[in-house]
Symmetry: C2
Amino acid sequence: MPPRAVAGPEIERLIQLLGKLPGLGPRSARRAALALVKRRESLMEPLSAALTRAVETVRVCSECGNVDSRDPCTICTDATRDASLIIVVEDVSDLWALERAGAVSARYHVLGGTLSALDGIGPSDLNIESLIRRASDPAVKEVIIAVNATVDGQTTAHYLTEQLAACHVAVSRLAHGVPVGGELDYLDEGTLTAAIRQRRPF
Amino acid sequence: MPPRAVAGPEIERLIQLLGKLPGLGPRSARRAALALVKRRESLMEPLSAALTRAVETVRVCSECGNVDSRDPCTICTDATRDASLIIVVEDVSDLWALERAGAVSARYHVLGGTLSALDGIGPSDLNIESLIRRASDPAVKEVIIAVNATVDGQTTAHYLTEQLAACHVAVSRLAHGVPVGGELDYLDEGTLTAAIRQRRPF
C-alpha cells in the first residue's frame, strides 16, 4: 500500500521540506509540522518571518566564505580583530564552534570541505585559491589550519602547508591531546600517543 | 563566559526558532540553519514559501479538531467515508498514524489531550462536549475510543464511556496484544497478560 497523504497539501509539503533538514526524519518532520501548526502565533508565524528575512538577507562572504547578512561579513570588517592571523576551517559550523569558544580574535577562511579522492573533491573545488591570495598579503603573519582531525582533513592540511610555503607566513595546526574534562580510559590510542609525545612541562 | 552570537542577527533568530521545534536542540538547530543557508534554492526558499502558505491556509477543523486547509476538513467532508463511525483520538498525530495504517475509512474526533489530575486538565479542557453532540446524531452507530494505552489515556476512555452511555452508540476500544512483528521476549507483562486473556481461536 503506498503511503496515504494524511493531511492537506500545504501540511504535506511542510512535512516533506522539514524532513530534508539534517537530524529530522519523516517521523520527526511530522512532529515538527504539527508543533508548528499548533503553535501558530508563538512559532509558525515567527519562523515564517525569520525564514523570509533570511532568504532576503543571508549571503556568503566573498572574502572568507562565512555566511552573514553583510558581504564582506561582520568578522572580516571587524577592525578590532587581529588582521595578521587567518584560521582555516572546513565549514562554517567549525567557524561558529571556534567563535563560541572565543579563544582567539582572528579572521577566518572557510574551505567549504576537504580534499577527498573518494568523493572526487580536488583543490579547485575548495576555496584554496582565495586563501593563497589572502595569505600573500604582507599584513598576514600566521595561518592556523584548523581542519578536522580526520584522514581527509589531514590530507588537506598537508596540501595547504605546501601551497602556503611560498606565502612567507607561519603555518600552524591545532594541538592534539586529551580533551579538557576527558578521561584517559575512554580515549583512543592515537590521541593518547599524541598526548604523551607532545607533553608539556608543568 | 556568555555564549557569543556567532552569526548575523537573521541567522541567530533562525537558529533560536528552529531550536523550539520538537527533536531539535541548540546544536541540531545550528546544523539545520546552516543546511538552510547552504541549500538556499533547494531548501530555504521552498521552506519559506511553504511556511508562508501554511500560515495563510492551515486551520483547525471546527467539527473534528483535525488540522487542514479547509474547515470542515477533507476527512469530515469526504462522502465516501463511513459516517456511522467516529474514532476518538488524543492528538492529530494519532489521527495521522491511523490514516497511514489505512485500516478503516471513518471520521475522527480529536480530544486535544487526556484528562490529567496532575496537569490539572479536566473535561472542559478537552473537546468532549462536541464529541457528545456528534455522537448524539442518529446517523452515528459506533464510537471507537483510540486513546493511548497510558494511565491518563485509560482514565479518559472510562470517562468518555460514561458520558457516551446516553448517546445510544456502541462504544469500543482498540485491542490490546502482541504488536505485529513483535517478539514475546521483549514485551512487558501487562501486554502479555492481555494477549493471553484476550486470545483468539485460530
